[in-house]
Symmetry: D3
Subunit: 139 residues, 6 copies
């Protein structure tokens, strides 16, 4: 078993806000992140698949194919977007790094599982070089 990882980056806006709370409570819990005008990040997405290298190609998966999966399932919907306002997952879920990692997993896992070769092992999301969240599925 080999674990193969590809990184990709996207730039997006977000804010933290719980509609059930007052503005005061939102500011108290979320601080500067509660600014409704939004702020943004250069996110780095790290996608790891696990499998046996194909003896003919030496590939766990074709990295060009993995790039396309990331591009079509995540980048096309999230890059240069406002996550709260434009991405369905975050209409009612706060786009923390934790929830972004889970959402990226859910977007890509069925495609990778359906391809029959390798399985998605983990998704890591860096909000900054200092903060990142990792999701490995529900098992």
């Amino acid at each position: 078993m080999v674990f193969l990882t590809r990184r990709a980056t996207f730039s997006a806006s977000h804010y933290y806000w719980n509609e059930a709370w007052s503005e005061e409570k939102n500011r108290q819990v979320f601080g500067k992140c509660a600014n409704r005008n939004g702020h943004g990040h250069n996110y780095t997405l790290e996608v790891t698949v696990a499998g046996e290298p194909d003896p003919v190609t030496g590939f766990v998966v074709d990295l060009k194919w993995l790039k396309d999966v990331i591009e079509e399932k995540v980048m096309a919907a999230w890059d240069h977007r406002h996550l709260n306002l434009e991405v369905p997952e975050f209409a009612t879920t706060i786009p923390t790094s934790e929830n972004i990692a889970i959402a990226a997993w859910k977007r890509m896992e069925p495609v990778i599982a359906g391809a029959g070769g390798a399985r998605l092992d983990r998704v890591r999301v860096y909000e900054t070089p200092e903060i990142f969240a990792e999701y490995r599925g529900e098992a």
Copy 2:
């Protein structure tokens, strides 16, 4: 003469939009950056001052003081903000990396010049690790 540099980072949203243009023209020129919901970046600001090291302290400037200048003049106004909507310089000027570098210079240069020790030599702004703009004043 020694050139002393301090880096700082901030997270902000922005978009590119020229009010004098149609939506079509804005999208044609600015592409994905014309999204009015905004997108964002982790910006890195690199501030360089030039001067002689003080023989008593060994400092061109006190780096704690320089940190405070960056904090008060730039970070307090820009970090976790939407540059177009909340920062006066960008009400009518598009917040490209080029203009962000000039604006950061204008915010800090008078304070550094007024302190009498070193002069501001250059301001560099990284929008991503792959793209940055540098301003060295008008001379």
Copy 3:
């Protein structure tokens, strides 16, 4: 389960020295690290907690709280310090990256466990970008 990580950096001095050994033996085993005047590093500490994102906040833990835990339990005692001379754990234990990772775990784990939300999953310590040690507890 999501794994959430925050990095922090500190600057410290240390040396490697076993009091039970001769100077010659110390120099033979520890090389340049046996210099009793000490040398130093910019250490990077990577703290990972594991848990379910809170459905109300989207947080595994509040990152501001995690920053405070790191600050109070590790940074306040280690940053800008000589580890051998000023940190109790290293009075009799050599401050290798391995032992620094274990000591950081022991300082933070009870606070994180006591908070009731997430558990400490791992602590990683980079002595340089090329060398790092990771501790995941005793289980």
Copy 4:
């Protein structure tokens, strides 16, 4: 148990080519990597060993010894080499990051196991900062 990691870098050439295929098929599957003149990378090798820190030295393994193992078993044979043309493992196996990670494991694991202290835990190979493969042995 502590996991101790050391990084090393090497520069090498490679190409992707399956002798059983036509040139057309090779180009279709491997794209630009099928160029028989070769292209190259600055590879980063990350070697992780696991064990208990020695109570006398504080070491899981002596990092100078680990550096020597990496140097003698991998660097001496791979650095500034053409992997397909000069490295026996890749005479018939395509030098993808996946296969390079497995080959590095096989070169170092017996020496590390034979030393009796720690076990080799994982080998990670970065082909670029965006792409890496990790091998953890056959269990």
Copy 5:
């Protein structure tokens, strides 16, 4: 005047060899780099242009245009290539970082000058993160 920089990366093979010298002399001067099978690097190219930001767009140059110039003039000819064997400039000139920087300048400068907006200010080439060469033209 603002200096705007864009980075791009390419992977290529090269070797150092002076045809006028014996093999022995080549090995003595160029060491491991004289291996005629070639070795390779992930090169990073840093292209800086200088000019006034356009008051209408805020751009010194359109970064998408600059990306296209880099792509067409350098990447298409050098990426995934063997510099000595496939790139005309290096048929008789040794592809050191110094000469690669000069060659990249010569490929891009006429296009940038011809566009009439900004001028090419400098080209920097990183062979590794530890070694880089910079060329600023002939003046």
Copy 6:
């Protein structure tokens, strides 16, 4: 003219202390850096030479020679050392990044000038990735 740069790293301890001042004054001006036990950093030294590439080798200078100069003139004296206690330049001069850059210049400039090929253009010293000082000589 091409500018060729090589990086090297060293680990050292230092403190900031002016013997002419009281302990109170030292703590007030230098803060945590006034701790007489010392603290340390992984310093990165960036050495840039300027010259014409030799038409025969393609080198501004031989990078192996430049590595030896850095090694013999700086690393041998500073790496794994306490700068205040073991390095003559810092017996009476405070080892700030500014003064370290000047001292590195003075150690290397005569050797590089004496070799007759290229001139030393600048020396940059990173104390951390966020703070660096650069010296370009006295002209």
